[in-house]
């Protein structure tokens, strides 16, 4: 049965052009992708959009899947890269936009996101530097430091270091918040 097939088998089948396998895989992984996207962006609205970006690009990327990494690692890598791209685009967009209308859209999205971040946790996550945030998002998602390192393309030691840095940041933010 399809549901008992491993993610890797499904992904390989989908890479070969099997639409049913692709659908099944996506249905299985969607919530997990969304969860990670939320942690990467700290905003539901951003997370929905980011997941949409990923969904749109996933079929093309899947063709490059050779089963070398686990599907989870592979998907997470795509998520982290997409989040990174999105951030970079947002930054250069804000800088280079010529029409004020577009700035407005960006400005409103930012204002809305900020209003949305009512709890300190989301705010704190967003205050982290992007690489720390990415690392923490993965580790909080029950990934081992080694697996997170694989996703990010860095060593296990670097992951551990980043996690402790992130903790320091958060502790400081919390202290400020409570003051």
């Amino acid at each position: 049965m399809l549901m008992e097939t491993s993610d890797e088998t499904l992904a390989l089948a989908a890479a070969g052009g099997d639409a049913a396998a692709f659908s099944a895989l996506l249905e299985r992984q969607y919530d997990r992708m969304f969860r990670l996207c939320f942690r990467l962006t700290g905003s539901r609205h951003e997370a929905e959009d980011l997941t949409q970006d990923i969904c749109a690009a996933l079929p093309a990327k899947l063709r490059g899947y050779r089963g070398e990494a686990s599907v989870t690692t592979w998907l997470y890598r795509i998520c982290v890269n997409a989040a990174h791209d999105r951030r970079r685009r947002a930054a250069s967009h804000a800088k280079a936009a010529l029409g004020w209308g577009e700035w407005e859209v960006a400005r409103r999205a930012v204002a809305e996101d900020e209003a949305e971040a009512t709890d300190w946790l989301t705010r704190a996550m967003r205050a982290l530097p992007p690489d720390l945030r990415d690392t923490l998002a993965l580790v909080l998602d029950d990934m081992t430091h080694r697996a997170a390192g694989e996703v990010l393309g860095i060593s296990e030691g670097t992951v551990s270091w980043r996690v402790s840095e992130a903790k320091k940041h958060l502790a400081r933010l919390r202290a400020e918040e409570e003051r």
């Binding site: 052009g17 692709f22 996506l26 996933l58 809305e112 209003a115 009512t118 709890d119 402790s164």
Partner: protein, 661 residues
Amino acid sequence: MTDDLDDLKRMMDAATPRPDAARRAENIALAEKNFADLQGSRDEARLMSAAPKRGLWTGVRQMLTSLTSRGALTASTAIVAVGLVMLTPFGGSVLDNVRSRGTPDEQVGMKRLAPEEPVVIAEEPMAADDTAESAPVAASAPRARDLAKVDVYEGDAAAPPPPSVVAPAPQAEMAPAMGITAGRAVGDIVVQPQLPDTEAFANADANPVKVVSEDPVSTFSIDVDTASYAVVRNSLTNGTLPPADAVRVEEMVNYFPYDYPAPEGDAAFLPTVQVTATPWNPDTRLVQIGIQGALPAVEDRPPLNLVFLIDTSGSMEDPAKLPLLKQSFRLMLGQLRPEDQVAIVTYAGSAGRVLDPTPAGERSTILAALDALGAGGSTAGQAGLKQAYATAAEMAQEGEVSRVILATDGDFNVGLSDPEALKDYIAAQRDSGTYLSVLGFGRGNLDDATMQALAQNGNGQAAYIDTLGEAQKVLVDQLGGSLFPIADDVKIQVEFNPGQVAEYRLIGYETRALRREDFNNDKVDAGDIGAGHQVTALYEVTPVGSPAQLNDPLRYGAATGAAAPDDSGELGFLRLRYKAPGEDASRLIETPITATSGNAEAGFAAAMAGFGQLLRGSVYLGDWSWEEAIALANETKGEDPFGYRAEAVQLMRLAQSLSAN
């Protein structure tokens, strides 16, 4: 170490929302469509999805697949989402049919493991992660959704938006918007769902006490804005203390007219300095610098060209916004003369000129255009501001004064994500001689910070209109001041005499601080002053030898720092620079600050400064209480012909009660 990470993880798990069901189906459908496109065969996808497997979801997917394949390739996903919601009522029966057909061979997909069709499309390299390029459909959807969401959110936290405001949002988009509100109360972290308040206020930390021997010079730009007082009033009358950042002490002081002597002859204005006892500290003195602008005879004023740039976006629907705005402008119209000209530009959906330049004498034409304004749609773009400036340029003639009056609830669309470009644009227009005033209406998404930035860069004033009474004050009683500039770039520099003054503190003007060297630099922009305007600045100074001195003298370096006490009687020296309108070079006014006592009426400024500082929770007031502030305000209220000051006392009493809770 691991423990707090576990804590964090628990919190994170609780905070993580569930994906929105509509978006989920939408996104998956998008992925499937792209997948099918990539295989070069849309038909395959349809065939596959006919293998029903998991009931509801498969059914929805099938509907979406057939919907999108019906030539909706270029349509945005938002439209697909609308289709989904509208079709759902029928979806039930569709699903039943599918289910009753039984379960065909589910392995049909697996049998095709070896692809029959050759791979014709070049593989995208793994590293190329730019999802935007491969997702042209995705690009348009978030924007449509953004606008829809803003519409849903707009409005006052106190007064939920009327249904008509919500209506323009595409139906499907309401689902994610509602979902967010509900999604906040997930798990252990229960956050009260509330309409987000997108107000932003411009402010900075209160000015610290400076030691004269170390830093004897204080430089700032004057500020004729009064928006802060009206915002404070609005908060208090609504039963809440204003946010501390909404309180700009200098604007609260400047809201009130004081009885300063008027300049004589050609002078644009006259500074008045008086030194009084500090109400909240017996050991310090209050230096009050008052500047009275000349009030040219009204009949001599040049013709006015006014361009009303009116925000008619959906959020302006509120009774405190567009309707009040119309009433306010109607009041103002009565003050204009027949040779003045009025034009109206709106921006919502698309910017448009709804009234071509019209002589103010044609009242009925102008009123009809004003009445025809209706709120709706979302805010449209810099187009509005550009068009307003273009219209003003068209109307301008030699010897006339042109001004754009921007009326908005703050959600205006001038792209503050790039404040530098905005600043440049407005500054360029400023050099062309067109001034800009900003009138804020309503609360909830009042972008006070943006208003400030706009008015400061546009050589204009920012005022906040919350009642018709305020409109009367700003637009009618002070019409001259708000519309006719008499001096540009007015800067104040005070040098304190270390022989007399040990420490000083400028009260308010935090957002107006200038660097010492900027005082003589005519390139540096500063505040402008209009006909009849008044500006008041207050310093709290600690005389040499006073027990109130906060900083101990330095053990080392005292020899160079402290000057010998002198008996000149001068506390300091006031320098004031301004430019006559249209001129590039500044003029200088200088006057020593001597220990003169002022008239009691001007003491009301001290009461207002105390009011503002109490609201901000200033650390410099000691145990000075609301009671004492109110008593002082009552004592110094004076004649108060317009009742502004009586109202202030009322507000102070309200604030006293509210802060007791």
